[in-house]
């Protein structure tokens, strides 16, 4: 049986989660997708679950996306992490790029998710 990747989508907007899920499912209907609406929920849901790809909204109430991404990366060193954001400060970009994370600009489109998935494949190759 072939390996089925698991994706974690963290975003406080239900609609954003839905769109990302739809775009991923379109090309990979068999992948396992976990959704979380905040940092706490994301940590709980991935405590006992290995994740291959994470898309994390940067601006969320409570724990911010970068703090969460850093923690999740610590727990899942092999996961490919992408930050999703409408506007990004240079300092954040530097820190995230240094940590090997990718970026997707909001609003998320079919093309940006496709690019993200091919980055994942490259990082796995």
């Amino acid at each position: 049986m072939s390996y089925v990747p698991t994706v974690l989508i963290v975003d406080d907007s239900r609609l954003s989660r839905m769109m990302i899920r739809a775009f991923i499912t379109q090309s990979h209907p068999d992948w396992t997708i976990i959704e979380a609406s905040n940092g706490q929920e994301a940590l709980e849901k991935t405590a006992t679950q290995a994740v291959d790809l994470m898309t994390i909204d940067l601006n969320m109430p409570g724990m911010d996306g970068l703090t969460l991404a850093t923690q999740l990366q610590h727990n899942n060193p092999t996961a490919y992490i992408t930050l999703v954001t409408a506007n990004i400060q240079e300092s954040v970009r530097h820190r995230a790029t240094a940590a090997g994370m990718g970026f997707i600009a909001k609003p998320v489109t079919e093309d940006s998710i496709r690019a993200c998935l091919s980055s994942l494949e490259k990082s796995r190759a």
Binding site: S13, L15, T109
Partner: protein
């Protein structure tokens, strides 16, 4: 302290001369200052006391005032207060001329509006430097002031443009029949323009269409897309199109006009004339909830589709869900703004919390207000992050029919003419097209029977549905009498129609003139086996089609209704007169 040596390097020090007012009761002092200022090219006015200073200030509006403190008639403090009150938006520096070193007295100078001090004995270089420094402040102030004015006038112009746009917007995106007694709604936009969209329109043959939409983002950019959507929704509903047709049309429009990444999560709801059947297409909105009048578990109609404007029509799934609803049941549709509204702690209102409010033990007619109050309390005055919309529809045909008639443009029917038109629809056409809106449109174009539109649509829709569902598809309407059977009936209808290979339906409309009256004969014939109509009259009375209220209603609307042949052909005669009042008519 500005040193005299830097002054020559300061371009402002030798700047354009300006007008200076000197107020001093000492003649020698006045002469000294006057001479210094004259030498630098300034225009000088001289006052001997505070009172005269105020008068001269009013007359000449100088750019700078040199003010002694102790003077007869009015002292420097008082004169400065008055002068500062006269300057309005202009910045006119006042320099106090003083030999005092008493801290309290100096503080008092500043309190009265003084900007600087010049100590006796006066030195020309220092006076010049102070004037230069104050000139810099004055220029800064002037620049700031003119920017402020420019900003204010820009803001006013924008406000006016917004008001005009808002008027245009609210005319096109009007709320339709949202004021009907069985509808309650909450609209809470973040700005003048709402990125949420709530539309309601009565269908030509009774019943209701509702559309709730939520555009990506908020404010003007989000609201612009609402205009074509509202146009399409109202026009197509009035012509009798089904919500799946409206979904396709709106999607195509939005896909074409919206920039990438902007789309509209939407739910379209269709309630039939008896308010017993709900048809829904939910693309990206939160679960639409159906609540029983007595509390208890609710039904969730979750999003099955992508939002409108994401994919093109070839990839759009326009299939709808149909459920049976009971009298008194309430349907709730809402945008993400409701469940994602946050408390000051950052916690979200959430769908589970909304469901708790909806299923709590409370009089049904108070549930909506309780939810709104709960939402306000939860947010506790915190900032609103998204547009927020909630609608409640009570399934109560009685209440719905109290709706006051919508204002209709008073179309005038055309003089009765003689014409005939006929359609022969084969299986492929029937599978892919609802012919009724087109037929109605032609009927209106030919004869202008807008006042009769609802009645004619009802007759046509009922007879066509009978021909298709019973005549061609062979469905048994007895199936509909139980809640399970109801869904089964609808599913069977969809499946049989999709598989329809043979058969046809012929529709013929014949209009004849009889003076000022017109007679329209509708003849619908299907290629099915027919039925023993001579023996089935009582059964017909109980036969309601999936789309409405059945044969008894049609019989009531027509002059005559007769079956022919094997029962596979029906003829309805409708008579109208030009003298009738031209308002939209309602079923009894």
């Amino acid at each position: 302290m500005v040193s005299a040596s830097v002054v020559p390097h300061n371009p402002v020090a030798s700047s354009a001369p300006f007008t200076v007012l000197i107020a001093d009761d000492d003649r020698i002092n006045r002469m000294v200052l006057h001479a210094m200022l004259k030498k630098d090219g300034h225009t000088v006015y001289v006052a001997e006391n505070g009172h005269e200073a105020v008068t001269l200030f009013e007359q000449h509006q100088p750019d700078l005032v040199l003010m002694d403190v102790m003077m007869p008639y009015m002292d420097g403090y008082e004169a400065t207060s008055r002068i500062k009150a006269l300057t309005g938006e202009r910045f006119v520096p006042v320099i106090f001329l003083t030999a005092m070193t008493d801290a309290q007295a100096l503080v008092h100078c500043v309190e009265c509006g003084g900007d600087d001090f010049l100590h006796k004995p006066y030195k020309h270089a220092i006076l010049k430097a102070k004037i230069a420094a104050l000139e810099r402040v004055r220029q800064l102030y002037t620049t700031l002031q003119s920017q402020k004015n420019a900003l204010a006038s820009h803001h006013r112009r924008l406000q006016r443009e917004y008001e005009v746009a808002e008027k245009l917007f609210s005319t096109i995106v009007h709320p339709g029949c949202l004021d009907a007694p069985h509808l309650k709604y909450l609209l809470s936009p973040m700005s003048i323009f709402n990125g949420d969209l709530l539309l309601a329109a009565r269908k030509p043959a009774g019943g209701l269409h509702i559309m709730l939409g939520d555009f990506t983002g908020h404010g003007l950019p989000a609201a612009v897309g609402a205009m074509p959507v509202a146009d399409i929704f109202y026009a197509m509903t009035a012509k009798g199109y089904a919500i799946s047709d409206i979904v396709a049309e709106v999607n195509q429009k939005l896909k074409a006009i919206l920039p990438t990444g902007v789309f509209c999560a939407a739910a379209l709801l269709d309630l039939d004339a008896t308010y017993s059947q709900l048809t829904i297409w939910n693309g990206g909105l939160p679960d639409v909830l159906v609540c029983q009048p007595s509390g208890g578990p609710l039904r969730r109609l979750c999003s099955q589709h992508l939002p409108l404007g994401v994919v093109d029509n070839t990839r759009l799934d326009r299939s709808v869900e149909v459920i049976e609803v009971m009298p008194g049941e309430r349907v709730y549709a809402y945008t993400d703004g409701v469940i994602e509204a946050s408390a000051p702690t950052g916690e979200m209102f959430s769908q589970p919390r909304l469901e708790v409010y909806l299923t709590q033990d409370c009089a049904p007619e108070q549930v909506f207000e309780t939810v709104c109050d709960g939402l306000t309390t939860f947010r506790a005055g915190g900032p609103q992050r998204d547009d927020l919309t909630l609608i409640e529809i009570t399934c109560d045909a009685g209440l719905a029919n109290h709706t006051s008639p919508e204002a209709t443009t008073s179309y005038v029917a055309k003089a009765p003419a003689c014409w005939h038109m006929a359609f022969a629809l084969d299986a492929m056409t029937l599978r892919t097209l609802d012919p009724l809106p087109q037929i109605m449109q032609m009927l209106m174009a030919l004869q202008g029977l807008h006042a009769h539109r609802e009645r004619l649509y009802t007759i046509l829709a009922e007879l066509f549905a009978n021909a298709l569902e019973h005549g061609l598809l062979g469905l048994d309407s007895a199936l509909k009498h139980t809640p399970q059977g109801f869904v089964a009936y609808y599913t069977a209808r969809e499946q049989s129609l999709a598989a329809l290979e043979h058969g046809c339906i012929n529709i013929a409309l014949t209009h004849t003139a009889m003076g000022t009256a017109g007679q329209l004969t509708l003849r619908i014939e299907d290629s099915g086996p027919g039925f023993a109509y001579q023996r089935c009259q009582p059964d017909l009375a109980a036969n309601t089609t999936h789309s409405g209220r059945g044969i008894p209603l049609v019989r009531a609307l027509c002059q005559t209704l007769t079956y022919h042949g094997a029962g596979n052909c029906v003829e309805a005669v409708y008579v109208w007169s030009q003298g009738e009042t031209n308002v939209s008519q309602h079923e009894p």
